[in-house]
């Protein structure tokens, strides 16, 4: 079951190997030119590339910053709900309630409430303490994005999230799904870095994207996996369409989404 989960339902690595690599090379080729455009003081090399850098660099130019924030909020709803259902038995961050974060599932804890063990040696950090922190981070991200969006925020009550029972029936399946969710989150945020117009929002998105990557890597260490998907040297961006194709299977009810478009 865990194999089918990772490979069929939503395997973040699939994004990396198919879309990701191609997109990355494309963006780099464009990037080379635009960099050189700036200060190239009397250097002859790279002029051809410089002249190629006329594109905006936006992969989804029709998305507004508000759309992108709601996209991020949707993914954070998904993640927060996932972790909350594994462990709702400890105090939540200030401002959060189970009714707010998981109204459709009421935070009903799965059987993974008692995560056991530690990260591999020489680490002695317990997995239970780590995943509780991750849960709280995702809830904090939800609250922050809701605050940034104000009245424009998609309501949590308009969504229903459903996870296969198997992901809460073993610690391994739970961690594998967490790893896939976090890796997907990284690709999702990276995919919007070039689409945001506000540098302030860009900064915030970076603050969250970095933490998603940190979560992903730590879970990967717990699973004995390489620190990045396929041990790649770079993370890869994904579009809203690609991310929804991966994570959308867990979204069983949703409002009209402002993405993709």
């Amino acid at each position: 079951m865990s194999e089918s989960l990772r490979e069929i339902i939503f395997d973040a690595n699939a994004v990396q190997t198919t879309y990701g690599r191609r997109r990355f090379l494309t963006s780099m080729a464009v990037a080379c030119g635009s960099i050189a455009l700036v200060p190239m003081i009397g250097r002859g090399a790279g002029i051809t590339n410089m002249l190629q850098a006329q594109t905006s660099g936006e992969t989804e130019p029709n998305l507004t910053d508000t759309d992108i924030l709601n996209y991020a909020l949707t993914l954070e709803y998904l993640e927060a709900t996932y972790y909350l259902r594994a462990d709702s038995g400890s105090p939540l961050p200030t401002g959060a309630t189970i009714a707010l974060i998981d109204p459709d599932g009421n935070g009903a804890p799965g059987t993974v409430t008692g995560l056991t063990g530690t990260f591999p040696s020489p680490s002695t950090i317990t997995l239970s303490s780590f995943f509780r922190q991750v849960r709280d981070h995702e809830i904090t991200h939800v609250l922050t994005l809701q605050g940034a969006l104000g009245a424009a925020a998609l309501a949590r009550s308009a969504f229903k999230f459903t996870f296969p029972a198997a992901v809460y029936q073993s610690q391994l399946a739970f961690m594998q799904t967490a790893q896939a969710l976090e890796d997907t989150g990284v690709t999702a945020y990276l995919g919007q870095v070039g689409n945001l117009d506000s540098t302030s929002i860009l900064g915030t998105a970076g603050q969250i994207a970095g933490v998603e990557a940190e979560h992903a890597a730590a879970v990967r260490m717990a699973l004995g996996l390489p620190v990045s998907p396929n041990n790649a040297n770079f993370d890869s961006p994904a579009t809203t369409t690609q991310v929804l194709a991966i994570a959308g299977g867990f979204i069983t009810q949703k409002p009209t989404l402002p993405f993709p478009k």
Binding site: A45, N49, T144, L202, G203, E214, N231
Partner: protein
């Protein structure tokens, strides 16, 4: 010319007023032993001119010859940002290459470190390709890590500091990058640094755990440079 890019610039505006809620710096500083040379302190302590002046004049014991500085602050263009990133990646690549060769690492730490080394070397190559004729090489810089590579525990502590520095540098610069496509490729390196950082924290048994805060924190370039200088690892390349 194939590859990517990166960043490093000061971001003065705190996005969505998140900084107040974070407390990240405090946690990191306390656990990492950066001591008095904290980012926050440095950000207000010296002007860049002062930092550069000290770089040129104070550490004579480690600088046998005055060599050209490969970077300069403030970072006023995407190229400046990429050059600053390249300097940091060269530092990291050299550190991990020497760590792997040292024989002091074992088990999961050795496996992770071998991966990180490969990643950092690839980041160097990507930045050099992106910079083209503006790029510099390992021959233009020099690093000596001394007792930081005396044991696995000292290695882990130093690696955590270096990755924290890289994470802060990239995130601090990201909003200042003009080109949206460069932002994306810089971001794709930034999140790798984040991955390295938390993985190292796992094996370093860092207080606060692998991911101590809900938000990462950007650091202005001048503060990054000061923190790098404070390690005394740089023997060539800062003038």
């Amino acid at each position: 010319m194939s590859t990517s890019e990166k960043t490093i610039v000061a971001s003065d505006d705190a996005p969505l007023s998140l900084y107040n809620e974070i407390g990240y710096e405090t946690t990191k500083r306390a656990s990492l032993g950066l001591g008095s040379l904290s980012y926050a302190g440095l950000a207000t302590a010296g002007t860049l001119g002062v930092l550069i002046a000290s770089a040129c004049s104070s550490d004579k014991t480690t600088g046998p010859v005055v060599t050209p500085a490969v970077i300069s602050l403030p970072l006023t263009s995407d190229t400046d940002i990429l050059k600053f990133a390249l300097f940091l990646e060269l530092l990291e690549a050299d550190f991990y290459t020497k760590a792997v060769a040292s024989g002091i690492l074992s088990g999961a730490v050795a496996t992770l470190t071998t991966s990180i080394k490969i990643h950092e070397v690839a980041h160097v190559a990507a930045l050099q390709a992106a910079l083209g004729s503006n790029a510099f090489t390992a021959n233009d810089v020099g690093f000596s890590f001394g007792t930081a590579l005396a044991s696995q525990s000292s290695y882990l502590a130093t690696a955590q500091t270096l990755e924290m520095t890289g994470v802060g540098a990239y995130l601090g610069a990201l909003p200042s990058i003009t080109s949206k496509s460069v932002r994306t490729t810089a971001g794709s390196i930034f999140t790798m640094e984040c991955r390295h950082y938390s993985a190292i924290r796992v094996f370093n048994n860092a207080p606060g755990g692998p991911v101590p805060n809900a938000f990462e924190t950007g650091v202005p370039a001048a503060s990054v440079l000061a923190a790098v200088k404070s390690t005394n690892f740089v023997t060539k390349g800062l003038g």
